[in-house]
């Protein structure tokens, strides 16, 4: 195995450990921290099922953002929908055999995934040109967006500019997944794309990007409002 492959394999596993370990740590940390008092944002459903139903809808359509800031919703929502297609586009490289429906989906997934730079650029310029958003935006906010942008562009380059040996790429990725790494295809655009994704993986659990899991744990939106029906004790006891 070449030194370069060795380096990437090592970094990949480290990245996976940091990503999964870090994200688990963060999310478990939220889950384990008590909520001494009941603070659901009312009106709120009075049963667990009701809360799940309500959140399934409002999270699926980004309801709060939709009623809050329509243009940001257009950018943010389309970006997240595109993430789904990006995921569907890449999933075939990590699993074998590839299910038929996933193969069927590829042209559509490509069509949407290829649009990724548009919402990202929109979200960046929104931060730059609207005074309120400029005021609240820091380096980290731009970093996350720019990272997404270059990951997207390098990915598109792999498809449209400098095509890689997809079979070799899949063999490499599958080798990583199966804990039996093989030689990495030495294709510059792929290496760039892959490196940036690793960077994102490392960055993710340390950043605001944990909102991806945190959104499911927010007490105001996920607590059941059943104070009339139940007695809630303070999980910490007296204070």
């Amino acid at each position: 195995m070449s030194a370069l492959t060795l380096f990437y394999v090592g970094t990949s596993y480290l990245c996976a450990a940091v990503f999964f370990g870090g994200l688990s740590y963060r999310l478990a940390g939220y889950a384990a921290t008590p909520s001494p008092l009941r603070i659901p944002l009312t009106p709120q459903a009075t049963t667990v099922f009701g809360v799940i139903k309500k959140n399934a809808v409002s999270m699926a359509v980004f309801r709060a953002l939709f009623i809050g800031e329509r243009w940001t919703w257009v950018g943010g929502y389309s970006l997240h929908v595109i993430f789904v297609f990006v995921f569907l586009r890449h999933l075939r490289l990590f699993i074998n055999p590839v299910p038929e429906f996933l193969v069927d989906l590829q042209p559509l997934a490509l069509l949407f995934a290829a649009l990724l730079p548009l919402p990202v650029l929109f979200l960046i310029s929104r931060r730059m040109y609207v005074d309120r958003y400029r005021y609240i935006s820091s380096g980290a906010d731009y970093f996350a967006l720019v990272l997404l942008l270059v990951i997207g562009l390098s990915g598109l380059a792999l498809k449209f500019v400098s095509h890689s040996d997809l079979v070799g790429v899949k063999e490499f990725l599958l080798g990583l997944v199966l804990l039996s790494p093989v030689e990495m295809p030495s294709h510059p655009a792929f290496m760039l794309h892959f490196s940036l994704v690793l960077l994102l993986g490392f960055y993710f659990p340390f950043s605001k990007l944990v909102h991806a899991g945190g959104v499911f744990l927010s007490p105001t939106t996920t607590q059941v409002e059943d104070n009339r029906e139940q007695i809630h004790a303070n999980p910490r006891g007296g204070n």
Binding site: P36, L37, L41, A64, G76, D141, K208, H211
Partner: protein, 495 residues
């Protein structure tokens, strides 16, 4: 009214997002709490040695105590959806009054001390130490938040600035930097039993006066009993109801409802206050201690249930927190606290009350949803009862009832501008500017639908609007309590 020394917002523009003006409300400062006031509550009398470190320690302690704080510190993506949803930002244009801007004041300290990125990259990652400048910002802008939760309605993650404001105030109190208004009032509750500091003899004379006054006006022997052991109901109401106008008119309304329904009730001199400023200062122990008095009074007076008067934040404390703080209420027949609107509403549904609606014909009434009732509690059996029950009462007692525009109604209601412990004179400019959003909606229905009365069920809202509406050339008499209108229309079966 004394001439204001600041610009009054233009109501036609009040709901439009203003351009950012840095530092526009930096001059609006609170009065610091004096040492004896702080000590009474067990806080350090003045800024302690090494407060920078202690503040960070306290923040670390609170983030492990409250899931809300920890999660809200970490998951904000700064999308800006909340930015123009705060009445104080709309009124002042100060970016630190954008909810996310306010949160950032704490987040930058949090990042520095509790995140890897903040520790590694410092200012580059928008992470800063707790220092004099930061404390100054905290003591300014965390007292320009009324904990109304409107921002969290528009947050994709439900981030509630109120939780952050409460934590910030708790931290500041813990290092010896308190706000005179809240700290002094909590002290009075402990000493005298109510926010205003009305001693028992004064309370008794006030209630006697009201009995006579109502008798004079209606001929009915409506009772205002105090400390009457064995009464069915313990009635707890904000002490402003014993002091201010128009608050007292609702007090009369409560008593008339009890009279008409033939249900015995009593006030308590031990617990002559429903408000719980422990919530405003974010202090769990104070909140618990303050509400403990009410439980004690209920035990001592051997009542069967507790009904509470028109107060917004206290209804949140009662409905959402009481049982957690002081429960369970096994000694009561009805274990859950009941809002007076629920009580009256039930009686109306049962047909136990009769009204002469024409008594309110001079009023075209609209309803102001108070923030803590709307977004932090409930009434009745179904979600949203807190919106419908008060409205149903109003429709039952008035012929002319009008809704405010949807964008500022129900869950999306704007704060009156004086909630969350900001109902203090040194913040008058903030209060006037913060009231602009809701007032503009009021003005719309006044002009378009002839509204001349805005009903509400919060002592703070009543006091705040009575005070600030005249700045917008709207008479203070526009403000009314729901039970004030009930009082006008209710038939007592005598006279």
């Amino acid at each position: 009214m004394a001439k204001p020394i600041f610009d009054i917002p233009n109501l036609d523009e009040a709901l439009k997002t203003p351009a950012v003006k840095k530092g526009a409300s930096a001059h609006l400062k609170i009065h610091p709490a004096q040492p004896p006031l702080m000590e009474k509550l067990g806080f350090p009398p003045a800024l302690v040695e090494g407060w920078q470190k202690k503040a960070v320690e306290k923040l670390g302690e609170l983030k492990e105590k409250y899931k809300s704080l920890k999660l809200f510190m970490e998951v904000c993506v700064k999308c800006g959806s909340c930015a123009d949803k705060c009445h104080y930002y709309l009124g002042t244009s100060d970016p630190n009054n954008m909810p996310v801007g306010r949160q950032e004041l704490m987040r930058k300290v949090y990042r520095k001390n509790f995140t890897v990125g903040g520790a590694l990259f410092g200012k580059l990652a928008n992470a800063e130490e707790m220092d004099e400048e930061t404390l100054k910002e905290w003591s300014t802008y965390f007292y320009q938040c009324s904990q109304c939760r409107r921002c969290s309605v528009f947050c994709p993650f439900g981030i509630d600035t109120a939780e952050i404001t409460m934590a910030a105030r708790e931290i500041m109190d813990s290092i010896g930097a308190g706000h005179k208004y809240s700290v002094e009032i909590i002290g009075k509750v402990h000493d005298v039993g109510n926010n205003l500091g009305i001693p028992k003899p004064a309370l008794q004379s006030t209630l006697d006066f009201l009995e006579e006054d109502v008798k004079e006006a209606t001929g009915a022997d409506v009772k205002f009993p105090l400390d009457q052991e064995g009464a069915d109901v313990l009635f707890i109401t904000p002490s402003a109801d014993f002091f201010s106008s128009p608050h007292v008119d609702s007090l009369v309304g409560y008593a008339k409802v009890f009279h008409a329904a033939g249900i015995g009730f009593t006030f308590s001199s031990h617990a002559s206050e429903f408000a719980n400023f422990g919530m405003f200062v974010g202090n769990y122990d104070q909140m618990k201690k303050i509400s403990e008095r009410i439980v004690q009074a209920a035990r001592d007076l051997k009542v069967k249930r507790i009904i509470v008067g028109e107060c917004g934040h206290a209804w949140r404390v009662a409905y959402s927190f009481w049982e957690t703080l002081n429960g369970p209420f096994d000694f009561l027949d009805v274990k859950k606290p009941m809002h007076v609107c629920e009580f009256t509403h039930d009686l109306i549904k049962k047909g136990a009350l009769t009204f002469d609606k024409t008594a309110n014909d001079e009023f075209t009434v609209t309803y102001h949803d108070s923030c803590n009732v709307a977004r932090a509690s409930r009434m009745g059996d179904a979600p949203g009862g807190q919106f419908e029950i008060p409205r149903e009462i109003l429709r039952a007692v008035c012929n002319k009832y009008v809704e405010m525009p949807d964008a500022v109604n129900r869950q999306k209601t704007f704060c009156c501008g004086g909630g969350g412990g900001l109902l203090t004179d040194e913040l008058m400019e903030l209060r006037v500017k913060g009231a602009a959003a809701k007032t503009s909606a009021l003005k719309t229905v006044m002009q378009e639908k002839g509204v001349n009365t805005m009903a509400m069920i919060c002592a703070i809202c009543k006091a705040q609007f009575s005070k600030v509406l005249p700045y917008y050339e709207i008479p203070m008499e526009t403000v009314a309590g729901i039970h004030q209108l009930v009082s006008n229309a209710i038939r007592l079966g005598e006279k």
